[in-house]
Symmetry: D3
């Protein structure tokens, strides 16, 4: 990957990046990863980005989902995944599998990937929403079983880990007041965590370039819009189904105090780094006010 640049080109990138590095130092950024499989190369580039950002003081938190992997495991134990209105119907047996796959597999693999890039300083730490009361939930709707809505976030544990130079990787299983675990939508949980942490940014890594004016035409990418404009668009039919929870979470996040919400393309290597440290963002940015 030897790229030859002129001194003036290098200087341009650095002069542009340093103010961002300063600006984000000490601030929190919540990064949501999808469960949809992204290739190993992208995973390693992401791990590198997170470690580089951490090294210059950005407090990165990863939040992950894991739908496809849960489906696979359910089938492996002979149980067909069941959905209603796009939400997973989660009986006790399903919940047990969800928890095992999220906490005991996906989270573990992410922790291992980051630590494999971290040399002699393994900094990734897996956390579940059940730990130290991180995510308190109430049942969403009895029809869906153990699916919960986040009602309270205790971000202290996350802040402490970050204070200690560690990188939390969060599985979105929550618990109610009695300790009963619940499955929680990961896009939504990431939003709740970002709000509770007073994060500067929430970034959704997806397999699309961002929000498009016209589906499938990347040239119609909408680079930035306000939460009000976004809510307006959500009413129209043009937006792809899978994007709705993410987009709603973006609008909610900025309305609740997160300064920036982004939807960016996780398939572009180092897109997180570029988004944070250069003037020309990638993907779609959502803010509360039109302040750009």
């Amino acid at each position: 990957m030897k790229i030859v640049l002129l001194p003036s080109e290098i200087a341009t990138v650095l002069v542009e990046a340093l103010p961002y590095i300063r600006e984000f130092a000490g601030k929190s950024v919540v990064v949501k990863l999808g469960g949809a499989a992204i290739d190993r190369e992208s995973d390693l580039a992401l791990a590198q980005d997170v470690l580089l950002l951490r090294s210059v003081g950005v407090r990165c938190v990863l939040v992950h989902g894991g739908g496809p992997q849960v489906d696979a495991m359910l089938r492996r134990v002979g149980k067909e995944p069941e959905f209603r209105d796009g939400l997973r119907v989660t009986d006790a047996e399903t919940l047990e599998i969800v928890r095992m796959v999220l906490v005991g597999k996906i989270n573990r693999d992410l922790v291992a990937t980051i630590n494999s890039q971290a040399g002699s300083e393994p900094v990734a730490v897996g956390v579940s929403g059940e730990d130290a009361g991180l995510l308190t939930v109430t049942p969403a709707d009895s029809a869906f079983g153990f699916v919960g809505n986040v009602t309270d976030v205790r971000a202290e544990l996350i802040h402490r880990l970050l204070d200690d130079g560690l990188t939390p990787v969060i599985s979105t299983v929550g618990a109610d007041a009695s300790g009963q675990p619940y499955n929680v939508n990961a896009d939504e949980a990431a939003r709740a965590i970002a709000v509770a942490m007073h994060a500067e940014k929430i970034v959704y890594l997806t397999a699309v370039p961002g929000l498009l004016e016209e589906a499938n035409d990347e040239r119609t990418l909408i680079p930035r819009l306000t939460s009000a404009e976004l809510r307006e668009r959500l009413k129209s039919a043009s937006v792809g189904k899978g994007m709705i929870p993410k987009l709603k979470a973006c609008a909610d996040a900025v309305d609740q105090g997160v300064n920036f919400a982004h939807i960016i393309d996780g398939r572009v290597h180092h897109s997180l780094l570029i988004e944070l440290l250069t003037d020309h963002g990638v993907g779609t940015m959502v803010r509360k006010e039109k302040s750009w």
Copy 2:
């Protein structure tokens, strides 16, 4: 559970307990739980003990195994558990199940049980040996696959969690330098953690009253012995197979700086509390020197 005691009896217990409370305040105690199913009542009593001890400043850490539950899950996905010389043969697929069961199920259930007793202050936090480089391992023997021996313990994360008033519950999956996970014997991992933490005590909760002179005769319980005496006994045939790793770990722990190692009966409710806070211990105590 209303027990009526005389003031003088109450005073006796308190006058005896308070010096212990003072002595253990700020010190670390590592408690190893077996994977063998103990009844719900005992689990709740243990959770209470851990929370009470924490409330008076004892730094309790739980370490758990989980052999039977791993076997069950392996069979559920259609794979027969395989052992050689009493050790689990761990291929990649087995490892994945081990990790899911330990980290994603048993650890989670323990965290949930403790938090259910902790009222408005959920303090339990699940940790895996892979987090922040807690357990570094090397392969034990290629014949067993991904089974590792602990070569290094980074106890900082555990100390930080304890400093923050949290109670770590540790699954004994480790990783090698490249981030590859390995299954680790839990008795042995508990010992390594206790040594690295400069713990005051390591306590093995078992389903037996302690080390017996004659198997099955509880009246021959050996209340205390030195590590040298214990090693002598380990050479003889009389000791039950299942006890050997625990006993060896006890001898190693005290020889490596842990002040006390105990094997106590997890079936007696609050046996942990009684062991720590009264003059008459329960089960078997191992020390380096005959200082009692």
Copy 3:
């Protein structure tokens, strides 16, 4: 004093005591001792209680009076004690004897008793109300001579001694703005100190079981009442004369912010420990509201 209890009985006491230990850790408890002679055994048990409570973080302060001993010394130098309306008439010569007996004898003996039980760590420190402006007084009534009412308490010295792990033993001699010493009622001074310290509890150790519905019938002990109820009772004639200052001080203390006021039997060994660390209090408890 070998009492044999079952593990379940021991566990019951401990499970009950530990939450109290946690609750009182870091909080202040003011204990008032009468000057009336209590036997050596009780003194040693009290010294033990204070040291044990200190060892688990309770900030104990002792306040003492000393009427009988002052009378004895006055007679020894050939001066008959003189009282009016139950209050000692205190001329300059009497004041000098009061001060010598309280500060130079009773306080000293208490300090010595506690330190004799404290092994290699003598923690008791005698303090007089004149030290560092602890008790500022104004003359009560010229008819009584140098008898003062407390108008200001500087609790800093007491807090600092407690912060340093020391146990203050306070003689209730105060001083006015010019430095002139005055004799102060000890029940009342203890109340003023507890209020100024924001103490959690004030405990009056007496030679009676508590407040009785019918004098001399211990079965009519009133276990708890509000300050309003107590003030009502104080209007009736049934209350023993000697108890009135203590009871009034209890009512004032809780009305001025001390959470609990107690009158307990100093003759029962370890009654202080039992009162603080078990559910079933001993003697009479006064609170501002009926919150029990």
Copy 4:
């Protein structure tokens, strides 16, 4: 006391004094007062000096004796003082009186005098050698009863009080390991305290101008000498009996690490201030080496 000085004269005093103020700031000075009655005027001037020195950061500690007052009180209770070889024979009854007079009277009066000069900030605190293990003693000689030699000094309490801006006034009653009190020679106790505190200076306030070459001829005052020279003189007969313990204590103090020992005239008002803050000392100064 209106003295009119020229600006240049004032400047001379100040320019001379300020370096001393700087030099002594944060350093400890132990001042030993005799029990022999000094007039009220001198007491007030001394109290002023101590408060002024404290105000500029000098850590002053007062240590007092009280022979004459003890004799008076003994006689008042009908007991003739008894001496052997110049030392008080101290039976239990005598000890009780010694303690009452030193701790409950002389110490109290000193505390009151200082606080009367301290305005709204009463800083004097009485301390006995029994408090917090300040003075540990062993019996000197059974022939003298409860007379002890200091074997250990715990200066922490004194340092803490000084750290808090308070001025300790110390009575020289000590205790043995069992808590039994003993009478201690005050000159000697002051020395032991100064050594334990790593004091910069120990100052003996006496009723003489210092050490004289020829008794009663003030013109033969010896302004300074080394501890070796002083020990030599102590062998000769010329030195007044009453001065011997002080002189010996001075020699011991400087040999054990105190930088300066002084014997000055307590009858000259503000002699302490002048000694510390000007070039021309008053009285006799003892140092280990001839470094002047």
Copy 5:
């Protein structure tokens, strides 16, 4: 300079000075020096005063002007100084010379003089109003060129230097927002700095005894007056022209929160020390209220 004083005279000065030393410890005093040549002796005495005051905790800051020296340098490079209404007309070339003379010569000489008296601990540090945004200015009036009025003071640098035990010597060149330097009136700049520092005192060292009722008659010195009285006098014609900016600055300083403003005679050696540490001030004192 050997002056022989009686012990009682010395004591009088010390007893008077110590409370002032205590009062000013930790407080800031801004001292303004004129540019008018004062003899070397006075400079050394001032340097000594500043160092002595510093040694007892007074936070002294020096601010200097330098009109005559600027005139001399201007003439040396062949440029005639130009004034309008008493203010220097400051073109770019003049500004360059002003800056070189103030920062590169007068400030340097003051720093060197202080450090020459400071033995092994050179504490003086030169600072210009341009450093770390100390003095932000706006142009006063285009007719005068680069002459600015202070609009903002950033006193952090000065506080930090003082915290580190250093003595700032300030040249009064300021800068506007773009970094363009401006000449600033030193009397006025000293006032602005004193106000921003919440100084206790501002002291103008002049070549006159203070404010006189009748010019040239030193016996008519006005020892103290309020800012309101001073403003009244400024309206009358009697006040000497050169004194007006200083007097106005004094009135402004106390009205803006500085507790005391003084005009004293810099020709009297140690006048600063005498002013601060004795009851009988020298020169004229201005306060907001008649509180003396």
Copy 6:
């Protein structure tokens, strides 16, 4: 300066730069600027670089000389500059001009330039070697007058300013023990300061590309060499006269503990940034060992 780069190119620069940013965070870099005029553009780029590096935690210190400007000013006051063996002969009058030009002009202009780029946070602070004893010197050789060699550096002031987020700009005038100022060679002073600060790097900004194998042929640039190799080269005649002090200072710096010494081209904009934050250095690097 709009340069369009591909995301992968940007990522390459950032991935390369971030580890350097982390590595240098908290470390000190001393940058020596020549007095030879560099254009305004370069000055602004350098100011930007220093501020950007500061913003990511690099502790930059600027040290400047100023020969040509001194010559100009000397001539302006009618004095011909005089040199012997390449060193300025510095009589008292010359010294006064040197000090005014360095401290009162060049230093000031650098401070103003940096602050003009620093927006609302002016961070540059001018310092002279005379301040707080920064540079202690002894006369070099009486033939040269007031020319001194640095014998001691007190770097505390510099560290404190850096700790406070400020950027020191240092003029190389020193003082001897008596406070007499001396002119000091700036290349040499920069070396002494870097050594005393335990700086990571010293960077000489020059008007050449670095050390050339053959003078005037930039293609023969020597990118790196050890101090031993450099000393060898210094013996040969090929090295340009003006470079000798810089080169000698580089060799001395690394031999005395500075990790890297660089000679880079100050005419290339942002050369400082590129040198520090990319793999391919610019100019010539000197190290003690061949560790590259």
